[in-house]
């Protein structure tokens, strides 16, 4: 499958949230993402790879920690090793060059973006938190089952619990995409993206900011 859309993307670190005022004096909640040191590490083309894409590297890493195969990969692009790599399928991959540095000016204020991150881990969570179950009554004779799921199925028919039944378990720490966020402003000097609203993940985690799939 060849990409038909032009996708721009950058990796960055979520610094946290704050607020700014826009020109109409409205208060805008923004998430600040620092997207410095992004670099193109490889290009995929239709002839060799069967699809077109750009591979982007981001983040510092101690060169001694880089495996030999990866070190060779970075050397081929003529860049210092990066900690994170991501591939973006885009139709205009040919317009990039390996080793090219990407700055936050790739985006412009007002543009719609999707942000991909890893959500905060919630540990082993019950059904009320994990699946928004209603729980059991606080009173009316409820005894020690206020946050329990209740029934999880029938009896001898079907004689088993259906697969996919929502139960308690590990929650969070998974890949989450928030779509159609607006870029409020760009600070090219400090390589900051100010994105309106919240993005997935904790402060200090790496997020991918890319052109919105559904917006336009």
């Amino acid at each position: 499958m060849t990409a038909t859309r032009n996708v721009k993307g950058l990796l960055g670190t979520k610094l946290g949230m704050t607020q700014v005022w826009d020109e109409n004096n409205n208060l805008i909640p923004v998430t600040v993402v620092q997207a410095d040191s992004n670099v193109v590490t490889q290009l995929r083309n239709a002839d060799r790879d069967g699809y077109t894409a750009v591979q982007i590297g981001y983040g510092q890493i101690d060169p001694r920690k880089v495996t030999k195969p990866l070190a060779g990969h970075f050397e081929a692009a003529g860049v210092t090793p990066r900690r994170h790599l991501v591939e973006l399928r885009t139709a205009d991959a040919a317009e990039y060059a390996a080793g090219q540095e990407l700055s936050v000016e790739l985006f412009e204020a007002g543009q719609k973006v999707d942000v991909v991150g890893t959500s905060k881990g919630k540990g082993f969570a019950g059904v009320m938190k994990r699946h928004n179950f209603a729980g059991v009554s606080a009173s009316h004779g409820a005894h020690k089952n206020h946050r329990k799921p209740g029934s999880i199925g029938g009896a001898s028919t079907p004689g088993r619990v259906f697969r996919g039944q929502k139960m308690a378990g590990r929650m969070g720490a998974e890949r989450v995409t928030t779509q159609n966020l607006t870029i409020h402003a760009i600070d090219a000097e400090k390589n900051l993206l100010l994105i309106k609203g919240a993005v997935p993940g904790a402060r200090g985690r790496v997020v991918l900011v890319r052109t919105a799939v559904k917006g336009a």
């Binding site: 610094l15 946290g16 704050t18 607020q19 005022w21 004096n25 208060l27 600070d187 400090k190 900051l192």
Partner: protein
């Protein structure tokens, strides 16, 4: 949030006078109606200040025609033309929520007198 302090610095106002709960303020608010803008004064006493940094807000309460009105402003909001401290109040709480239950004579706040003593 220290990491974003440099970013927030651009939004901070430097002309905010020192005031605290119990102080009587005149808050001059810019109001834009269509293309005209005018300044409206909201005068009352400070019920409390909430938050810190660029997100700090303060609540001003006044009694207007027998109805208590409270208005919360972001401290660094650009719609505030200026803040005037009319008088300092002598109070023992950071949040004067007890004032909501009082009216008449009981709803007075003693003025803090500065006798120029120890600072």
């Amino acid at each position: 949030m220290h990491i974003l302090d440099s970013l927030d610095a651009a939004s901070l106002r430097s002309d905010v006078p020192a005031f605290g709960p119990g102080d009587t303020l005149k808050v001059h608010v810019n109001i834009i109606e269509g293309k005209n803008s005018r300044v409206q004064v909201f005068q009352g006493y400070v019920l409390g200040r909430q938050g810190r940094g660029v997100g700090e807000t303060f609540t001003v309460r006044k009694v207007s025609f027998g109805t208590g009105i409270e208005r919360t402003f972001p401290l660094h909001s650009p719609i505030i033309d200026k803040i005037e401290v009319v008088s300092k109040g002598d109070v023992r709480r950071a949040k004067l929520y007890y004032m909501r239950d009082r009216h008449g004579k009981a709803a007075r706040i003693r003025e803090k007198r500065d006798f120029g003593g120890k600072k």
